[in-house]
């Protein structure tokens, strides 16, 4: 396959993956691997900012310890640190000459066998959410035609990440909705169960459930569930008396 065809095939592959349910870590690993195949680099890694703005390594083209450590050392300095904070591509054509610029990162990268590095911003909705790190074994910069491809890879990594975040947020809401719907039913069932077992009114049964939950600092729906499943006996509810403080 000629190079252009491989690039197109890679983007089609990623577009397909985005449609189906996918594992974001696996996806970002694949992006890193494809970078090594398509671009003139020896290793690639993806760093993503967490809610506190700390860059976390999410994926890399190899599990080589030195390469992973290089990703991890970039929270105070380094190309990804700069790239994430100013939203632009940051590069070093000769890491051996950049020890003043990045005193920790540059020597470590040279020791790991790298001569130059690129950090490409992962942007979405006008925001930089992380950086794609390309490590090269010789000095110099990416050839001109490779620059838009590297940005394309960073963009698709960003889209994949956002896609997953949105899916996860809506799934959280769905679980919450189902839990809330279910807990109302469980509480009513527990009221009925207790009213019948203790031969008290529905209001009294509810008062006892609430009193127990309050006294034991438990959620009403959890108490109701435990009564229904038999993990809490009727004797826990035989009076509305509060338990001793500190109980």
């Amino acid at each position: 396959m000629v190079r252009e065809q491989r690039i197109v095939a890679t983007f089609v592959e990623f577009a397909d993956t985005l449609i189906a349910d996918f594992d974001v870590v696996e996806f970002l690993h694949r992006v890193s691997e494809r970078c090594v195949e398509l671009l003139d680099c020896a290793e690639a890694g993806v760093l993503v900012a967490d809610v506190a703005g700390v860059l976390r390594p999410m994926a890399s083209s190899s599990e080589r310890t030195e390469a992973l450590e290089l990703l991890q050392t970039q929270n105070d300095e380094g190309p990804c640190f700069e790239c994430y904070h100013n939203g632009r591509t940051v590069l070093s054509e000769d890491l051996a000459a950049d020890a003043d610029r990045w005193p920790v990162f540059a020597p470590a990268a040279v020791r790991a066998g790298f001569a130059s590095v690129h950090a490409v911003p992962m942007r979405a909705h006008g925001q930089t959410i992380g950086a794609l790190n390309l490590f090269r074994s010789h000095t110099g910069r990416l050839a001109e035609p490779d620059v838009p491809v590297s940005q394309g890879m960073a963009d698709i990594a960003a889209i994949g990440l956002l896609n997953e975040r949105q899916a996860r947020e809506s799934h959280d809401t769905v679980s919450q909705l189902q839990l809330a719907l279910q807990s109302r039913v469980v509480i009513e069932q527990a009221k009925g169960l207790l009213a019948e077992r203790l031969q008290v009114s529905m209001d009294e049964a509810f008062a006892r459930l609430r009193s127990y939950a309050r006294g034991h600092r438990r959620r009403l729906s959890d108490v109701a569930n435990e009564l229904i499943e038999g993990r809490l006996g009727d004797d826990a509810f035989t009076s509305t008396a509060q338990p001793r403080s500190g109980d």
Binding site: S170, H171, T173, Q176, L177, L181, Q182, S183
Partner: protein, 222 residues
Amino acid sequence: MAAVDGDAASVIDRVCMAATRVLSLNGAGLSLMVDGELRGTAGATGPGIEVIQELQLTLGQGPCVDAWRTGVPVTEPDLAEPALLRWPAFAQAAVAEGVRAVFAFPLRVGAIRIGVLALYRDGEGGLNADEFADGLVLAEVAVHLVLGLQAGAGPDALHALLSTQPAHWAEVHQATGMISAQLGVSLDEAFVRLRAVSFAENRQLREVAGDVVARRLRLERP
């Protein structure tokens, strides 16, 4: 509490009303479901629609139950069709309530189903391709509204606009708990017994449940 207060008509009710206008239908209802069981009617265009939605809880059958289970839209252009094999009890009761055709669209979030948007028509006839597509879009809108509302609710709470469950619903579940204690059976079985009485005596589930809760009716071990 009334299921739908005039001025407090929820945003979900408005979706149902929009659905009836867009598709020239007679009614629509949005059910929230968990594990295939109706857990609340979050919206309805009128009390008649609520009765039909609730009927599916009593009977454990109907288009909403099927749409939830299969995850795909379920349509029935003529409930009065004598050869109709699915939901015999539901079809008969729905026709008695003035409903002739029904179209149920599952509310899906990926592989998870959170409920069903059911559209009802008083005359026979199916949806054409455009109307069917509109139904899919309306279901999609309903999913976003429900999740949008719920995203603003507390971690343990159900959003107020989604909890338009009328008071008699509570009695159905209370009665289930009581029957479970009376007969020493599981809640699932107790609910089946409650349904069976309602079906056998041809009374609404809420009436039978009201009798159990008021201790006018006590189920005996068979």
